[in-house]
Symmetry: C2
Subunit: 674 residues, 2 copies
Amino acid sequence: MKSNFQEQENQLETSHNKTPLLLDQWKPCRGARAIIKEWLLKLRLCLGAVCGIEWYCYALLGILTAILSFLMDFSVNKLLGAHQWLYMKLEGNILLQFLCWTLYPACLCAFGSTFSNQMCPFSTGSGIPEVRTMLAGFELPHYLSLTNMFTKFLGLISTLAAGSTVFLGKVGPFVHLSTMVGAYLENLFTLIQGSKKERAATEMLVVAAAVGVASCFGAPISGVLFSVEVMCSHFAVRHYCPCFFSAACGALTFHLFTLWSGDGETVQALFKTNFPTALPFYPLEILLFALLGLLCGALSCCYLFCHRWILHVTKTNRVFIKMLTEEKGLYSALVVFFLASLTFPYSAGQYMASKYTTKQLLSSLLDSRQWSSQVYNATVQLEPLEWNSSGTSVFLSLAFFLFMKMWMLVLACTLPVPAGYFMPVFVYGAAIGRLLGEGVAYVFSTGVIFGPQWASFNPGGYALAGAAAYSGAVTHTLSPVLLAVELTGQFSHAVPILLCALVANAIARSGNRPSFYDALSISKRLPHLPSLAKASSQLPSTPLGQVLGVNSVWLQKAAGPKEVKHAISTCTEEQIPVVDTNESQILLGFVLRSELLMFLRHCLNQSLEEHLDEVCCIHPSKVLLSPQNTVEEAHSMLSLAGGQTLFVADKGRLVGHITWPKLKLIIEGLAKEI
Amino acid sequence: MKSNFQEQENQLETSHNKTPLLLDQWKPCRGARAIIKEWLLKLRLCLGAVCGIEWYCYALLGILTAILSFLMDFSVNKLLGAHQWLYMKLEGNILLQFLCWTLYPACLCAFGSTFSNQMCPFSTGSGIPEVRTMLAGFELPHYLSLTNMFTKFLGLISTLAAGSTVFLGKVGPFVHLSTMVGAYLENLFTLIQGSKKERAATEMLVVAAAVGVASCFGAPISGVLFSVEVMCSHFAVRHYCPCFFSAACGALTFHLFTLWSGDGETVQALFKTNFPTALPFYPLEILLFALLGLLCGALSCCYLFCHRWILHVTKTNRVFIKMLTEEKGLYSALVVFFLASLTFPYSAGQYMASKYTTKQLLSSLLDSRQWSSQVYNATVQLEPLEWNSSGTSVFLSLAFFLFMKMWMLVLACTLPVPAGYFMPVFVYGAAIGRLLGEGVAYVFSTGVIFGPQWASFNPGGYALAGAAAYSGAVTHTLSPVLLAVELTGQFSHAVPILLCALVANAIARSGNRPSFYDALSISKRLPHLPSLAKASSQLPSTPLGQVLGVNSVWLQKAAGPKEVKHAISTCTEEQIPVVDTNESQILLGFVLRSELLMFLRHCLNQSLEEHLDEVCCIHPSKVLLSPQNTVEEAHSMLSLAGGQTLFVADKGRLVGHITWPKLKLIIEGLAKEI
């Protein structure tokens, strides 16, 4: 019994010690270990002299994520190139071309789906709902494992390599990948520094969210804004500089790798545009941008409704349930085959520019030249435009693209593969903007309204604004505005884009409807309070007293060894509350588990019947909650207290306690009520 | 006695009522009032049907501030034009020119100083330290009055009209002006909506901080980033959309007014540059940008040291104290006369481009053409460059400018006038960057290093990066990066500017030195915790028990009318704590003052000796603090609780309570210890 206590104490000491690198000397290869450890310590001292070790972690996080991002882009480009090469080689034989066009992405997605579900089922989907939940303070350990990272990375490559047929993106999973790299570096940091875990862990997650976006596109500032938006209720200002630092490292590394790989002469935007700078837009066009915002907002509501509907169907329809639980690979293959046969360039695909990859789609939509006038005036056309390759008008092509991609994207969202849902929405918004822009350009080019001086009208600006507004409305965020600016390096349109995105957001948020990620959180029953509030605004205001349950373990201050032993054996908490007497239950504070173990050893040694308060120090509990506090308030207080146990007392009497795991259970319980 | 109670109760009811517009019917002109009120109510219903009334307030805040900003720019331009016209007319007579050059700004500053100190002494200085304190939750009512707004507006016009001689800016006071407009709209909103005040007031302040920057330069995104940075510890995500909305309204209004006044054809950046877009910079230049960051960081430390020194001198030197308390107008006139005689174009001014206004200075520094090569090649020079007008090399001019403006700016900071300190620092940083850029361009133009292919080297990019990095380092912020981008509409340099600013910030923040605003806060003894932490890192961790004082008023639950009467007469708090018995002091909760008044009336009516708990409802106190909590923790909890009274209890016993006014006293007490 005694040795057992000693062992437990040793473990406690080890975990609390400040320099774990120098301890645990009972392992093999002592000599080599000691030398390595000494070198590591020296390195730590050297590095620490310049700035805190955590800053090296932030830099490393940015650099590693950017390298992952570059590697992914590189592999995806090779795989897409292979597909295009094969398709071109089969020119002349439509059947073979059809098989090549459909089976290549179907096989890739079937592989991605099967592989990721076999290796780690948590790797499918976007990952942003889970990241938001983790940022709110809850631990979801499965989502941060190295296996998950590996699986998600490979799975995402196969999804992206399926190309614009599947039409899925990279951002969401990349934010998730970045948090996994962050969690790994965080463990490394804890090992080197021996600091307390809770506080730094959240910090690393917040930084990783910013880095994810930043290294995905080389866009540091929108990364930081995304990190602010994705937070549950408050953004700590102390995370601001680390976010910027890490995001800048990530963006710089990403740009430099792109540079070294031979794309471009210098560090520049990913989708560099050539908008006219002298007169980017006429002042009256601001009204058109506001109109575009209205349009994007309305269409986003439609898309979100369809998405919620399909989420509901996949959970209630028997065929879907059976396919999505047992035959994920087959389901993916079938859905992608269906989508690909629609986008086949000799079928409906010819009317929706399906030969373009997602990147080419976006580049073509952001072109500053007017398509309609090019076609009508038959002037110099530098490269053939895919949008009117079949001879149909660009207006019909764009409208058909919008109609088809709406439901195709909703269907693609059900695929059980690692995939992002932001980029497709961004491109879709660009198409909405382009359609409006081309329409206005056509009306102006006839000279009926305003006369011929509006000749330098730029439909590309509308595409950019539409992309930011539609993606912002779908996700209920504003950072896409800055992302649009950073992706194109085009600042001249910043104010109208912001206006357009604000209008679209206002419409999408009206009526307290859930955003895209909220819908996923609700569907997955994640313990994320703001999402729950969207589903039922009453739930987060539930009083704590209703859901807390009874507190089973406490000690009175005059407790003897018997009571202490019983308390230790019945509960696993680190802090055990101490009350005045068992009758009055007035909360005095708490004792640490380790101190109780010491108390028991002391009693055994002395063979005395001593009272708890004579030996142990009773720590005062810093913040007390009452049963009238809402679950939301309890969550805020717990966030602020940084992982301590908070005790709940009613008029001085102990009622219960709140920790992160307990709060997670409570909120998961609430989520089941929806 | 009884009527007195009733009156107090009536007041309480009025102040707590939800629709104050329909009440207070004992005032004159009842008929007209009733009609107007009815119309207002109808308007409120109409407006409220589209979106919440607060959104109209945000829009109005942006629009009003932007109009103020436009009016100020307009008046300042006229006044500056008048000065230049007069100076040109006196061409040929150096003495008269000297008098015109020196007396005009001296008189303006003397007027501004006397006027603002007579009307409202709180209107001098930047205002940002006070805004930061108010954002931290403390009320500084003098700083938000309408008189202050009027005084600050006029005073700032006279300071800015003194031109580049005084070399002071507009941003800081504009953020302050914006908060005053916000506070006024907030009162209006409270009147219309009848909502609770505390929560919305902070919201309006946060939004106003963003709007201040946004409408000063038409830069919405950096406004929001500034608002995030300026917060004490946490930025509430629910303020994010209002900030963006209001900032966008402000920026758009500012741009449209500028447009209508005839400057420019469309909405575009204030200092539009024409950097080459094809190859904005060579990848290797990133190292040079990092070097520039180092340089800016080091110089900012030097500047901040000088600033702290002069703050110390003005508080200890007898002459300064006497001048700054009794003869503010004279002091301003003398200092400005001295500065102006130095910048007189026939004295030292000719070596530091003193004929330029602040705006022209910045525009000239951001020019993308190489000055040195222009001079040496004697190619087409479109407009005469002021920097080498006297025949000296631009390097000497820039170096002389940097040397002189450093101490001149430090001296100008002591002027008791409403003035911003951001813009001069921004321009100063641009000069640092330009000097480095020109130097590198000169070295490259000789072709010794790297050869002639670096001919398209752009020193303007260095000026931009230097401006962002130096101003960021001085204020310990990163939003200047985005401000630099938004001011110039130049996104191609975003990544190197960010890198440069991060390096400069890292150097400026090392060693826990206070920023420019921190130094002002400490000097003014404002209750701003993060600033205090810079002065003495121990202070914010002082345990609450040490500084709380004794709690004088409480009621036991069995208290009779006599005790209640005594409690009401001795304290002014709204919530009075109730304990179990006077001996045990176990805190049960609190009663509201209004309920105690009702209890007394009840006792008087019934002529009974009843106990408190038989009549009044004892509200549970939601969150309890302990005396071991630090002052910083108490501040966080109070921010989260949103203006409630927080009780402090030790092992269930009442120790004291914390409210915002009390915390303000405590922190001001701590500030005196420095």
